[in-house]
Symmetry: C2
Subunit: 210 residues, 2 copies
């Protein structure tokens, strides 16, 4: 059993890996914590603490070996088995995610997309596309465990219930309604309304720089 990491650390480690994968293309072999911090928009103390939690330490003079760091982060946060992801009502948003997982994270596979009224076909990225009516059957057959739910609010709770009954254990909820689900389901909420109201507020009075 791997050691349990705090939620914010897991998010940052995922972010560091993204940054490092890009940085690696520039033919760097090493990186200092202050550079990784700058590229990840956090501070060096946080970076060093996060990396200590996964038992990685850098060389004082050279910094961290990038390829080792990527491998250690993957070992710490990726699932042992592959998890299958499905998108429900997500539109173009899925494309970037699909490309990234295909290239860099073989433990996450985008296995299906669902749309209201869709005819069974494939998306532009060759992800199988299904009608939402086939949700339960496809989720079960494919063994999908994670779903991104971006359906209108009136359907959000019914659809999540179907997902949970079909074996889904993690949900990224974009529907702006709280989901009533058993406590063993891991739900991550995103509320676009709050973010848009925040942007409107700061349009005319930019926040002070940190």
């Amino acid at each position: 059993m791997k050691q349990q990491l705090p939620e914010n650390t897991v998010e940052r480690l995922s972010h560091y890996r993204r940054v490092l994968l890009n940085y690696q293309f520039l033919d760097h072999a090493f990186i200092f914590s202050h550079n990784l911090a700058r590229l990840s928009k956090t501070n060096p103390v946080t970076v060093r603490r996060d990396l200590m939690l996964i038992n990685v330490s850098g060389d004082v003079h050279k910094g961290y070996i990038i390829s080792d760091l990527i491998a250690q982060i993957s070992k710490a946060i990726d699932s042992d088995q592959t998890e299958k992801v499905a998108f429900i009502g997500i539109g173009d948003l899925g494309k970037t995610v699909y490309e990234y997982f295909t290239q860099f994270n073989e433990k996450l596979v985008v296995a299906a997309a669902f749309k209201f009224g869709a005819v069974k076909s494939v998306t532009q990225d060759d992800v199988p596309l299904y009608n939402i009516a086939d949700l339960m059957q496809v989720i079960k057959n494919e063994g999908i465990t994670i779903c991104v739910v971006a359906v209108p609010r009136e359907f959000a709770n019914d659809i999540s219930q179907i997902l949970v009954n079909s074996g889904v254990r993690g949900i990224l909820n974009f529907s702006s309604v709280p989901l009533q689900l058993p406590s063993h389901i891991y739900v991550e909420q995103y509320d676009m309304i709050i973010k848009l109201e925040k942007i409107a507020y700061f349009l005319n009075r930019p926040p002070k720089k940190k």
Copy 2:
């Protein structure tokens, strides 16, 4: 000039208002800070501090008057003028947002949606739908100031640049690439890849409850 509020306070005030608008339907006239905190998944101290920042205080025995609280939050965070919002490549996700603004926030108007290859028409919610090729012209003509950008990563920077040149001042960026924009543009990032990797991590080891 209104007083400048911290970014997290603005997000929470937006959230409180959503909660209060729902709560109001239940025929309550008053609410205590601990109830508002529970419904908003925060703590009473934070609620009271946020509301003090907008000069609202409750009655020790009755709590806050809900209608007053909604009015004070709106006064504190809403723009004086109406801001127009557009969705670019967002799919079904825009529907919930559109419904909420139409009902509850007249200072935010969803004025347009854009899609690659779209023929000029209207969405299911009667929002005018345009081809992305018409981006600059429509944004300028309509005076749109806020855009939600959910296009594939290879287009994200070019499209944001067009938006800024057309007068947009706030961007909600879903493209998972950092945008290179002038500092007076208010950008809010959302990175779905990080959230999915986090969900995958916690699927098999639920975090400790706070």
